[in-house]
């Protein structure tokens, strides 16, 4: 940020909000004067169920109302769609057995769900939740909300992160940063007050499990290691109980109700109610009414714990791996923080306490803590919070497929991001015009056992004899944990074009098309708003310049400097009414850069005047 703008203008800063886009519930938060705060729904709840329903006329219902529709119109309503984000049809076979997802035909490359005849990708469905949150925040704050931080499970791979970012774009939000959920939680806890120490964040949510180990050092939150399972959460507990309950109902009534979506959703709701009660009472009853019949089953906590023991057990191995990667023993971990609704279960708390040999923190509401952390990160990005900084890591190793399908690792897991690696590629055939690079993510040695991210096609190479081409490819994982690839021809030094073919998820063009489709008008509005914002900024700098020109500082400048400033000013005025926001910003930047000395002169004059005790205008 230039000193010129800081000194002479008071550009109203756009607010950045924080969003927790959860499997079960989503929340939106912002930085209030007193700290991070969750923005409530008009009904007063902080949670928006991540449920989307399509009505007969093709419009959307989101949140609590959609949750009701899960029972009334299960065919056109979807929940837990986060489980499908950035995934291919082959990876979700388990999900399809357990969740009532209606996969549309032709979902081989990109999964599409059929909601009452409307075909939607997971990012488009998530975008509906995001739009709802956006509208909720705009109504509450009384201003436009266009920029956001969105949290993702730490163990999300590149495709899952990209899908989340796509969802934001489709919803008309600029996603300034994806933040890992456990790291966000650590921020919300304000554990940096202890200044130094090691913290483990155990995040067991509706659909995902994460463990992150962080070192705190005077406001810096440095993630040492992270591990997890993007398919393990409270959903799995619900499904297990539901399966048993369905069998139990069949035995008692001699009737299989599992073919009725309505019955299954009603029973699922009853099972979840019982599960939640069991966190606070020694026993609870599953009550299910269906076509005039009543099913009741009393469950003791002991029985419940026996049923979920193996699910809780599955969270412990990632914890041990994370400690191993961080080079730490349980005794070296100073604090443990619990995040996610599933950590309300007493058995989970007990397991965590035993493993880490420490009593975990539970002061903050485990449903809200991630959203609060996202708001803190948003304030870091806006510059409102300057004493904190997150240094996060990439959860999975990044590699390329080499001869024989073997993976050559380029960036290892738990490397602090942004991280990069450079490789030189050549051709194997005379006159070869392109090289295909297959990039994978994962820890296994063979490419087929890892997650395929994308194929990068180095195109239009100069035809030269085999082995003579030299293309330097740079793989860069940015602060969002997303891969960027660029290439350079080492012989000519020229940028080499790279075409990206994502293995799963949407191409850039597809996302653009979705944005245009659902936001034809909004898109135009958006462009207009960007121009307007650039114009406002231009007004500020032009005004400041007018003032400066009337001062002594202007006269103190040389003739050439004055001419240069004049030229830059005319240039800005020329693009002001006709240019795009980028052209206007470019002109502002030029004028700003060139008039820097003038700004300094003015500062000096002001200082001198102040020292003399005289007033300046």
């Amino acid at each position: 940020m230039s000193t010129f703008q800081i000194d002479f203008s008071a550009v109203a800063k756009k607010r950045i909000v924080g969003i927790d886009l959860g499997t079960t519930n989503s929340l939106i938060a912002f930085m209030d004067l007193t700290g991070p705060a969750v923005i409530p729904t008009p009904e007063g709840s902080s949670l928006v169920p991540s449920v989307v329903s399509v009505t007969d006329d093709g419009s959307y219902v989101v949140g609590e109302k959609a949750r009701q529709l899960l029972i009334d119109s299960p065919d056109r309503t979807v929940y837990s769609v986060k489980r499908l984000m950035g995934r291919g049809i082959a990876d979700v076979q388990d999900e399809l057995r357990l969740f009532p997802f209606h996969i549309a035909e032709g979902s081989e490359n990109v999964i599409r769900l059929d909601l009452g005849g409307k075909l939607l990708t997971p990012p488009e469905i998530s975008a509906q939740v995001l739009k709802q949150l956006k509208a909720q925040a705009e109504a509450y704050l009384g201003e436009d909300v266009a920029q956001t931080v969105i949290t993702v499970p730490a163990y999300f791979n590149d495709a899952q992160r990209q899908a989340t970012k796509d969802a934001g774009r489709i919803a008309g939000l600029e996603v300034l940063r994806l933040v890992n959920e456990p790291t966000a939680a650590a921020l919300a806890y304000g554990l940096d007050k202890r200044n130094d120490g090691v913290v483990a964040v155990y995040d067991f949510g509706g659909g995902t499990f994460d463990i992150s180990i962080l070192r705190l050092n005077q406001g810096i939150f440095e993630v040492l290691s992270t591990n997890g399972d993007t398919h393990l959460g409270g959903d799995d507990i619900d499904n297990k109980l539901l399966r048993i309950a369905l069998e139990d109902v069949e035995n008692e009534w001699d009737e299989d109700v599992s073919n009725s979506g309505e019955a299954v959703q009603t029973l699922r709701r009853a099972v979840i109610d019982a599960k939640e009660k069991l966190s606070f009472f020694p026993e609870a009853t599953i009550e299910f009414t269906w076509r005039g019949k009543l099913y009741q089953r009393l469950i003791s906590r002991e029985l419940f714990e026996g049923l979920i023991k193996d699910i809780v057990e599955r969270t412990l191995q990632p914890c041990r791996s994370a400690m191993l990667d961080a080079g730490l023993k349980p005794e070296q971990i100073d604090e443990v923080v619990l995040v996610g609704g599933s950590t309300r279960i007493p058995l989970v708390r007990q397991a965590v306490e035993t493993l880490f040999k420490a009593k975990p923190h539970t002061e903050l509401n485990p449903d809200e803590v991630v959203a609060l952390g996202a708001a803190v990160q948003a304030a870091i990005l806006s510059g409102d919070v300057t004493d904190k900084l997150l240094l996060d890591v990439t959860p999975l190793s990044l590699g390329i497929e080499t001869m024989g399908g073997v993976v050559s690792k380029l960036i290892h897991r738990n490397s602090t991001i942004p991280a990069s690696a450079t490789e030189v590629f050549t051709t194997s055939v005379d006159g070869q015009r392109n090289v295909l690079i297959h990039v994978v993510q994962g820890e296994r040695e063979l490419a087929r056992d890892c997650r395929s991210l994308a194929r990068f096609d180095l195109k239009d190479l100069q035809p030269v004899p085999a082995g003579m081409a030299r293309v330097e490819v740079r793989f860069l994982i940015d602060a969002n944990g997303i891969l960027n690839v660029s290439a350079r021809d080492m012989r000519s030094g020229k940028e080499q074009s790279v075409e990206v073919k994502p293995s799963y998820g949407l191409t850039d063009d597809q996302v653009e098309a979705m944005i245009t489709e659902s936001f034809e008008r909004a898109e135009e509005d958006f462009a207009a708003r960007q121009v307007r914002e650039a114009q406002v900024e231009a007004d500020t700098i032009l005004l400041a310049l007018d003032k400066a020109r009337a001062s002594d500082a202007w006269d103190a400048l040389g003739e050439t400097e004055r001419t240069a400033i004049e030229r830059a000013r005319k240039n800005l005025q020329a693009v002001y009414h006709t240019g795009t926001h980028l052209q206007i910003r470019d002109a502002i930047e030029k004028l700003d850069g060139i008039s820097r000395k003038l700004a300094e002169n003015m500062m000096n004059t002001a200082v001198r005047a102040a020292l003399k005790g005289s007033k300046i205008n």
Binding site: M1, S2, T3, K13, I16, L176, R177, N217, Q218, I220, Q377, I380, L381, S382, G383, L389, L390, L391, S415, T416, I417, P418, A419, S420, A421, L476, D478, A479, R585, E589, G593, I594, R596, K597
Partner: protein, 220 residues
């Protein structure tokens, strides 16, 4: 210092400054805007190119530079500065990973000094280890054929390899100090002995990993 005076022109305000070192030009002296970062890890951290470094100081500078350069600090900056910030922070993180580890640090200097440190070389058995490797493979075969007596032998081999690795590490440390104290003209020769030691070390480390993997599969 082995840095020469460098002339640097700011991309933004166009003013030219003379810098003591490349690292000093991360920010423009005149307008304080972020400049295109240097790619040399030692220069980036403001260290001389030595094989031994003060790792506490390295960590201190890492945190300090993170605060100044991280993309979180440039969300509202110009696109040029945002790109420089991303580039600079990736060099910072990559460099920190390499410099804090003595072996990676040495490999980096070797590479920068024109040595080929490819992995292929590690496949050739160092002659003095031939017998050891032969014995190890025999024991591994016995174990896979169900001879559980081989477990004790295998553990013994592992301990012997670990001792060898410790020996090499101590030797490497001596060589590092020697290199750092030597005049520029003699360094290349010392580096070449370091490369041999590193190859031997890598070979032994792989042997230890093989044994560990065997134990791990037996446990599973």
């Amino acid at each position: 210092m082995n840095f020469s005076i460098v002339e640097h022109t700011c991309w933004r305000c166009g003013q030219t400054s003379e810098e003591q070192s490349e690292a000093a030009s991360l920010f423009c002296k005149f307008c304080n805007s972020l400049q295109r970062p240097v790619v040399d890890y030692f220069a980036f951290f403001g260290f001389e190119k030595t094989l031994t470094i003060d790792t506490d100081e390295l960590q201190r500078r890492y945190y300090m530079l993170s605060r100044q350069l991280h993309p979180d600090r440039y969300t509202r900056a110009t696109e040029t500065e945002r790109n420089f910030s991303l580039e600079a922070t990736s060099i910072l993180n990559d460099g920190y990973r390499v410099l804090r580890d003595p072996v990676q640090r040495a490999e980096y200097i070797l590479k920068e000094s024109g040595f080929n440190i490819g992995e292929q070389r590690s496949k050739d058995v160092p002659p003095e280890l031939l017998e050891e490797v032969f014995d190890l493979n025999m024991v591994l075969d016995e174990l896979r054929n169900g001879d559980t007596d081989a477990i004790a032998q295998l553990e013994e081999s592992r301990n012997r390899f670990a001792a060898m690795q410790n020996e090499i590490d101590a030797d490497l440390h001596e060589k590092f100090l020697l290199h750092d104290a030597a005049p520029e003209t003699e360094r290349h020769e010392i580096l070449s002995t370091i490369r041999s030691a590193l190859n031997r070390r890598r070979y032994i480390r792989n042997l230890i990993q093989d044994v560990n993997k065997e134990f791990a599969t037996r446990e599973a």
